[in-house]
């Protein structure tokens, strides 16, 4: 009992100490990460990347001359609960801006809850066309990942017959709708299109259809475990000899699950890979392992996007001179800043950025091409 009381007391003292610390004029930024749920795998790398960004921003003098302090909430939960968690950070803990790495359903709930009263940066890969007051986006949209990449692969690999396979929801469908145009422009054709429910864990019949279609390229918009299962079986059936694969959400963890044996001619298109060899990316990766150890959760495009989001928030706030949404919205267009991904520009509230194409053959991403300053065609009209 004594021990319990002592622990309780010391935690009270600690809380008070932390409380007084935060009374100093730090600006609090709410960071919304998936600690639980289907995207929980990305929670740790997202948190770590956010912490690195805060360190960097504070070293550069903070935002508008004030140091920043991060407050986290788990948004790997249903949208209504996630909105509650964000509200607690906003009204309860005094967060003055938000950076979120979570799914689109949560984003829509947050847009409704924030109602343009607080700046909000959304960071992961997503389907595009989300526009609201105070909403800024760093994540890659389908046009950015595909427009430069499809003609490049058509040329490099000599492929023209594309098979499109994805999970049955809006991101794959929106991606494929755009892909069809890029494939036609590159002189190719679509020989099959298929959407699979999330509940299906085996892809044998889809693989047979791909084989019979004579496809020489497959655009994969399956996500997570489904993508792993599909790609493992794809190579098991020897289809990697018949067709290349291009994924727009195959990051380092997914590739690890697919395995070196099954990743022959598997391409991924993204704004970030841990193996990007630019100076900025290399020093970011070095800082990451220095701060969190060499066995820290692997860097990947989703986790790293939290760093991008905070850097955008800092650049935009410093340009606008305040965290007021109207001022930020007015200053948003044309904001430029540099990150591990490269040189970025805010265009139509979306981040025009460098897109990297990496080959996963051998089980590790090897960047084979990069395309500078690719704008999104699914951006906002301002």
């Amino acid at each position: 009992m004594m021990k319990k009381t002592a622990t309780l007391l010391s935690s009270v003292v600690l809380t008070m100490a932390l409380g007084t610390m935060s009374v100093s004029a730090d600006t609090k930024i709410g960071v919304l990460v998936p600690d639980s749920g289907p995207a929980g795998l990305f929670g740790p790398s997202t948190r770590n990347s956010a912490v690195l960004a805060a360190k960097q921003i504070n070293a550069n003098g903070g935002i508008n001359g004030e140091q920043i302090e991060l407050v986290f909430a788990d948004v790997g939960v249903p949208p209504a609960e996630a909105a509650q968690a964000a509200l607690r950070l906003w009204k309860g803990q005094g967060a003055e801006a938000f950076v979120g790495m979570h799914d689109s359903a949560v984003r829509e709930a947050l847009i409704g809850r924030f109602n343009g009263e607080v700046p909000y940066v959304y960071t992961p890969v997503y389907e595009g066309n989300s526009c609201a007051d105070g909403l800024y986006i760093t994540g890659e949209t389908p046009s950015q990942q595909l427009e430069p990449v499809i003609p490049f692969l058509a040329e490099k690999e000599g492929v023209s017959k594309w098979y499109l396979i994805g999970h049955d929801y809006n991101w794959p469908r929106d991606t494929n709708a755009l892909a069809k145009g890029f494939i036609a422009d590159a002189g190719g054709e679509v020989v099959g299109e298929e959407y699979v429910p999330f509940t299906v864990g085996e892809f044998d019949s889809s693989l047979q259809r791909i084989k019979e279609s004579g496809a020489d390229a497959v655009l994969v918009t399956l996500v997570g475990g489904g993508s792993v299962g599909f790609n493992v079986s794809f190579a098991g059936f020897g289809l990697d000899d018949q067709a290349i694969r291009l994924g727009t959400l195959i990051e380092e963890n997914t590739l690890a699950g697919i395995g070196a044996d099954n990743a022959n001619r598997l391409y991924s298109s993204s704004g970030y890979f841990s193996s990007i060899e630019t100076d900025a990316a290399a020093s970011f990766a070095a800082d990451y392992s220095a701060a969190f150890g060499s066995d820290a959760p692997a860097l990947n495009g989703l986790g790293q996007s939290a760093y991008e989001g905070l850097m955008l928030l800092a650049a935009l706030t410093n340009k606008a001179g305040s965290l007021d949404v109207a001022a930020m919205d007015a200053a948003a267009e044309g904001t430029t800043w540099s990150t591990p991904r490269g040189d970025n520009t805010l265009m139509g509230r979306h981040m025009a950025q460098t897109i990297y194409l990496a080959d996963g053959s051998g089980g590790a991403f090897n960047v084979v091409a990069s395309f500078d300053n690719v704008p999104s065609s699914e951006a906002c009209s301002n």
Binding site: S205, G225, V232, G257, D261
Partner: protein, 282 residues
């Protein structure tokens, strides 16, 4: 019907029968609703991950699988499960808790990320004019032989009858000389080990992560609902109907229709024929 479709049917039905076997024993014979069944499949699938992490030779995968799954199952049976014989709903809740516990333990050790495993036999072979993964062909043949052996043993052994006596009336069973503690622990551990073995066998062909067990649990229950509890024939029929429907409709229509049909079938069976196609207890 193309030969690839026939081979896909054989693969899906045989692997589902293997995955569901352990559940059929534990649920069908011991009357324990083992919600942690899929987690034993998952632990088995980590055996090749363990051997490759420790740099052990490939032939140790099977021993490692049994050494990880067996003791876990034994300890759980002796500490928790044995108090729950004859209390089906309580067993459901308890094993659901165990399932969460096992997932968290595996996550603590290996992390949440995906693992990958190379198949022991690589490449494809030409069967009936179709290129099919050689490993899958070997697995289909192995499972078929295994089930023939099990059927042969089951028709001659009295173990099934003893288990039935034990579950029906434990006191009477002990009075006539059945060692119920040994029998129940043995049956539970055997059932869990077949699940682990299924995980080991499936590992090179599926995703491996702490949450993977859930998929196998649900499909196994569907197979048992349709086939009926308590007999190997029922298990075969149930697996055939569930995996067959999904694979066939998935091939000729789409995966969505395949899954819809499986759900519909399961509901219809629960409603109209709750004992399944075969429910004799042999």
């Amino acid at each position: 019907m193309s030969s690839v479709l026939l081979l896909n049917l054989a693969w899906q039905i045989s692997t589902l029968a293997l995955v569901a076997l352990g559940l059929a024993i534990v649920f069908g014979k011991l009357r324990i609703m083992n919600m942690a069944h899929g987690e034993f499949v998952m632990i088995g699938a980590y055996a090749p991950v363990i051997t490759s992490m420790l740099g052990l030779p490939g032939w140790l995968q099977l021993p490692v699988c049994l050494v990880t799954v067996g003791p876990v199952a034994f300890v759980l049976e002796r500490t928790i499960i044995r108090h729950l014989y004859g209390r089906m709903f309580d067993s459901l809740l308890a094993t659901w808790g165990i399932a969460i516990l096992l997932r968290e333990i595996v996550e603590l050790i290996f992390g949440r990320g995906y693992q990958s495993v190379s198949p022991p036999i690589a490449g494809t072979v030409c069967v009936f004019g179709a290129d099919y993964p050689a490993y899958r062909i070997a697995v289909i043949i192995g499972i078929l032989l295994g089930f023939i052996g099990l059927y042969w043993w089951n028709t001659r052994s009295k173990t099934g009858t003893r288990i039935k006596a034990m579950v029906g009336n434990p006191n009477l069973a002990e009075a006539i000389g059945i060692n119920t503690a040994r029998l129940s622990a043995g049956a539970f551990v055997f059932g869990c080990c077949t699940a682990g073995l299924a995980g080991l066998i499936l590992a090179p062909t599926v995703r491996i992560e702490p949450m993977m067990g859930l998929d196998y649990l649900i499909r196994s229950f569907f197979a048992l609902v349709v086939g009926g509890l308590g007999s190997l024939e029922g298990l075969g029929i149930g697996s055939g109907i569930i995996a067959g429907t999904q694979t066939f409709l998935g091939a000729v229509a789409s995966q969505t229709y395949g899954y819809l049909a499986v759900l519909t079938l399961s509901i219809l069976f629960l409603w109209l024929k709750p004992n399944g196609v075969r429910s004799s207890s042999r």
